[in-house]
Amino acid sequence: MGFYIVKRIIWLIPVLFVISVVVFSIVHLIPGDPATVLLGTEAADPALLKAIKQKYGLDKPIYVQYFLWIQRVLHGDLGLSVTTGRPVSKLVAERIPYTLELGLYALALALLLAIPLGTLAAVRKNQAVQWLFQGFTLLGLSIPRFWSGTMFILLFSVHLGWFTIVNFPSFMGDPLDNLRSFFLPAFTLALPAAASIARITRASVLEVSNMEYVLTARSKGLDERRVVFIHMLKNALLPVITVTGIYAGYLLSGTIVVEKVFAIPGLGRLGVDAILQRDYPVLQGTVLVVVTLFTLVNLAVDILYVFVNPKIRYV
C-alpha cells in the first residue's frame, strides 16, 4: 500500500505539468489583453499601451512568456498582478483562508445534513418523511446558488436579523462570531452537495438493509438503533465517502458564486475579477492553486478509500 501512495504522488508531477500548460494556453487564448482593459475607455494612446505591455513582458512571444512564467513558478514566485502590481503569491495567500474555511464549513454542514436525513428516509417508510426528503433533495439540487444566497440574505439578515452579512471576523479572534458570519454562505454552498449526498446515503442504506447480516442482527434481538448505526450505516457509508470526495472538489468551484453574492474576499472572486480584467498572472496563479488543491483532495480521498475499504487491493 505504501508503494501505491508513492506512485500516486509521483503521478502528480506530469498531471500538474499538463495543467500548467493548459492553464497558460487557455488564459492567453481568450481575446483582449490586460493592458487594454487597464486603460479602459479613458485612453487609446498606442504608445501608452505599448509601454504597459513592455512593463509586464506581454510583448514577448507566448512560448517565451510560458517558460519565463513556469521558471518563476518553480521558484515559488507567481509573478506580479498587472492591475494591482502586487505579488500574486501574496494575493493568493491572503485569500486562501476564506475559501478553505468556506469549503470545509460547507462540507461539514453538508455531511451533518445529508447523512441523518438520508438514513432517516431509508429507515422510516412513512409518507411525510418521504415527501420531506424528496422536497429537500429536489429543491437543494435545482435551486441555483446565486438565487438561494440572495434569498437567504433577504430572509435571515434583512428581515429576521439573525445573521450579519459582509463582515467576516477572523476565526482566531472570535471563533463563534466567525462561524456565525460564515453560516449563511456555507449553508448556501452546502445545499446542493447535501441533497446529492443525502440521496446516495438513502440508496446505500436501503441496499444494505436487505443484506443477510442485517437480518441476522435483527433476529438475534439487537436494539434497532444498534442495527441501524453500527451494522447498516458503517457499511453503507463507503459510496458516501467516494461521493463526498468528489463534492469536496466541486465545493471549491461553487465558492465562486457564493463569494460574489456574500462579498467574501476568497480565491473564487480573485479569479473572476482576474478574468474580467485579463490579469494573466493572477488568473494563472489562482487557477494553478485551485487545480493543485483539487488534485490533492482527490489524492487524499483515494488514499482514504484504501484505508476504509480493505476489500479493495491496489497493486
Binding site: L38, T41, D45, V158, V166, V261, R269, L276
Partner: protein
Amino acid sequence: MVKKGQLLRIVGLLAAGLLAVGLSMTAEGPKYGGTLSIGITQQVLNLDPHVATAFSSWRVMELIYEGLLRFDKQLQLQPALAESWTVSPNGIEYTFKLRRGAKFHDGSPLTAEDVKYSFERVLNPRTSSPLRSRVSAIKAIEILSPTEVKFVLSKPFAPFLEVLPLIYIVPKNFEEKVGDPKVKTLGTGPFKLAEFGPDYVRLVHNGDYWDEGLPYLDEVIIRQIPDPSTLRSALRTGQLDLIFGFGVDVTTAGAFAGLPGFQVISVPGLNYSLLGIQNTRPPFNDVRVRQAISLAVDRRQIAEIVYFGRAAVAGPIPPAVSKWEPLSPSELPNYTRDLEKAKALLAEAGVSNLSFKIMPIPTVPETIQIAQVIQAQLKEIGVTAEIESVDFATFLQRWRQSEFDTFVSLNSGATDPDIHLYRHLHTNGSTNVFKFSDKVVDELLEKGRTTIDFGARKEIYRKLQIRIAEQIPFLFLTYPEIFAVMKADVKGFVLLPTQSIVLLRETWLDR
C-alpha cells in the same frame, strides 16, 4: 391636592426635560468622531495617484491626495494646495502660491520642489500616466521660491486650471519614500491610508490637515461588495452607512425612497451614454445616414425606459455645467425625432434595407437596455439593428481598434468642454475611435483650447455644438443622474456630478 414639594419637583423635571430638548436642538454643529463604512461594487486596484485609472481607485485617492486646486459642490474651482494663483494675460504663464501649513502625512512640509516633481512624474513617459496628455502643454516648471511655482506653457491651453484638481501632489522622491506607490500612499489630504485589505481600504483622520477643524470623521472604510443586491442588503442591515457608484442606480434609489432611517440623494451627472458610430464604414461614411439614425432615435424614450426619467436628454455639453450654456436638443439639428425626415435622408443617400450591429458593454446592463430600445426605434424606419454580445475585454479591444459598426457605452464627462470633447472628436483625439474627421470641428476645438477669454470660448463652443449635431460623429443620448443612499444620521455629504466623494472631508455622523 398636590403638595408644594411635589409640584416643585414636577416643575423641576419639566424644566430639565425642556432644557434637554433645547440643548439637543441647538447642538446643530457638526460632531467629531465615528467610522463611516462605504460600500462600492468595484474592486480598489491600485493607488498610484498618477497611474491608476479605475473609478474605485479615484474615490480612495481623492481622500488621501490633493491637487493645487479642487472642485466645490457647484464644480467651481477652489484653492486647495495652492492658496492663490495668477495667469498671465497671454495665457502662457501660471503662477501658484502654495498653501502655508500644508504637510504630507509623514510630517514634511509641502514645497515648490514637490509640486515640480509631481508634474514631472506625470509627464515622464516611463510613468505611463494616462493623465500625461492633459498636461502636455507644460513647457517648463520654475521654482520661484520654496512656496511659489510657475508653469510656462508652450502655447495657451484654456482648460489648464480645470485639469489641476486631478494632478495630485506627492513629495519629491515619492517612489523611494513609499516603496510601492500602488499600495502605499503619501499625500496631504484629510485622510491617511491605514490598511489596504483584500477587499477593503481603511482610512484614518489626518490630525495635521491644513484646513483646520477638518475632517470630522475618525475613520472611513471603503469596502467592495460585488453584488448590487448584497450591497443594498448590507446598507439595510446597518453594516454600511453609505453606498454609491456602479450598481446604485434609479432602482436602488426607489427601493430606499421613503424608507425611515435612510436618505437618497441625487445629482445630475457629467457622464453620458452614447451610440458610437464607425464613421469610415459604409454606409456610415455618408453623413445623411448618420443624421437619419440620429433622427430616428427617441432620446426621451431612452431616458424614460432605461432611467425611469432620471436622466437628462442633451447634446455635446453636459447640462450640469450651466456656465457653458449647453444647447438643449430642441436647439440642435438632428436631435428631435423625425421619422419622415430620417426615411427621406436614407432614400437620398440611396440606402435601403440598412442593417448593422450594435455592441453594448456586457458589464453595464443599462447599455444593453439602451441598445434594445434603439433597436426597436430603428425598426420604425426599416433599419435592422442586431445586438452583438461580447465580453468586456473583447469590447475594449474592438473599441480600441475601431472594429465595430456601432456601440453603446458610457463616457466620463468633464467640466470643461475641451476636456469633454477634444479627445473624442478631434481627428488626432486620443479616444477618437469613431474615426471621425471634420475640418470645421478640428478648427473649433483648437480655437477653443487656445482662446483664453471666457466669453469668446463660449461662442466657439456654441458653434461647435451645432456643428457636431450637424455632423453626428456619434449620438449623445442621455446624461443619467447619479445616486447615493445613506443612513439618515450621515450629515454634510454631497456627491459631485463627477461622482467624486471628496466632500467626505466635511461629512459627519449625528450619533
